[in-house]
């Protein structure tokens, strides 16, 4: 539950580990590009193939099962909305976008299992992505889990206390809850800066 990046070092498939991360990244993007522009028979074939790969992986790994399920669930609201809009009008693109969406989601779910977060950031670094952006990616990922836990705890406490509040009041209370966690995250950021400084961080000299 508490982690989303499916490839921890411990269970990263060694087969992919032997391919250079940059090549893995490039292959992933190309596959995604081909699929998201595909139509007709190619798209149909790709869908069948990816569903096959997905079923195989799902059978092979429980971890992957969860991430695929999550991927499919993610497509639901948007897909349903698009289907709804399509049903309202006559001139639309037909089912191809939905198939392309499905294929891409399976591809992304696969990608995340074959690429470590540290590796991905290394690839981005070698592609000259600005270092501040990569630093922020790291911070956001690292502290996301901590804050999610804090928010969930406070949300639970809030639900236990508020019996009959209006929807509007509920939204406002939620905001204050986020505010509380935000205050704490502000204090924590000062501490983190101290921890960085203690370990030699000094942007002026670098």
């Amino acid at each position: 539950m508490s982690h989303y990046w499916t490839s921890d070092l411990a269970d990263r498939p060694s087969f992919f580990g032997r391919i250079d991360p940059r090549l893995r990244f490039f292959l992933f993007l190309s596959a995604l590009g081909v699929i998201s522009a595909a139509g007709g028979r190619l798209l149909f074939g790709a869908t069948l193939f990816l569903i096959g790969v997905m079923l195989f992986s799902v059978a092979a790994s429980a971890k992957f099962r969860r991430s695929v399920l999550r991927a499919l669930l993610a497509l639901l609201p948007f897909g349903a909305f698009v289907v709804f809009l399509m049903s309202l009008s006559r001139e639309t693109g037909g089912p191809s976008p939905l198939l392309r969406g499905l294929c891409s989601l399976i591809l992304i779910a696969l990608f995340v299992t074959m690429m470590g977060f540290d590796e991905l950031r290394e690839v981005l670094r070698s592609l000259r992505v600005p270092s501040i952006f990569i630093t922020l990616l790291g911070f956001v990922y690292r502290y996301f889990f901590l804050f999610r836990e804090e928010l969930e705890k406070m949300d639970m406490a809030l639900k236990n206390r508020s019996f009959s509040s209006s929807r509007l009041e509920g939204w406002r209370l939620r905001a204050l809850l986020i505010g509380q966690v935000l205050l704490r995250s502000y204090r924590r950021s000062e501490e983190v800066y101290r921890a960085m400084t203690a370990r030699g961080y000094d942007r002026k000299e670098r």
């Binding site: 991927a71 001139e91 693109g93 499905l102 956001v140 502290y143 996301f144 804090e150 939204w171």
Partner: protein, 204 residues
Amino acid sequence: MHIPDGFLDPKLVALSDVAAIGLIGLAARKVERKLSPERIPLMGMLGALVFAAQLLTFPVVGGTSAHLVGAVLLAVLLGPFSGFLLMAAVLLLEALLFQHGGILAFGANLLNMGFIGAFGGYFLYRAGGSTPLSAGLSALLTVVISAVLCALELSISGVVSIKTALPAMALAHLITGAIEGIVTFSLLSFLVREAPEITGGERI
């Protein structure tokens, strides 16, 4: 609304990705040059917080629910360039971890939500007098504008027709926009009162 891969026209995808990458480069340079170093962990914490807060669902009507974007909030607290850069990080992680929005469609999503939210939102916030209220209103507006852009992009790509998509998207997002507005307003009023050192910090 996060657009998955496969829905947008490839030309539109390429164009928006180029624009998004350019803007990330620009914002990164600006932040790297101007921002004092102790604000960098703060950016990280606030980005992580917004990311986590996006997972809170707000019940609307029936079984439907909405969640926050947080772009205006970040831009008001940290400045438009920092806010944009953080939204880029958050949206990229969302696409990878939760498959909310595609990887190739990342550019379009970043322009719809990050650019409109951070730059557009910050502009409206300043134009409205830099108060929590103007931030709230600008949050509402930017959510609706994002939805309209999303509808436009989908109809340009021939997925849906503009006549139905535009009003449907705009209407649906009036409600999410209202939530975004109320949350942004209440949160900022709370912070102005309780922690002026946070709302009064440097903005890049």
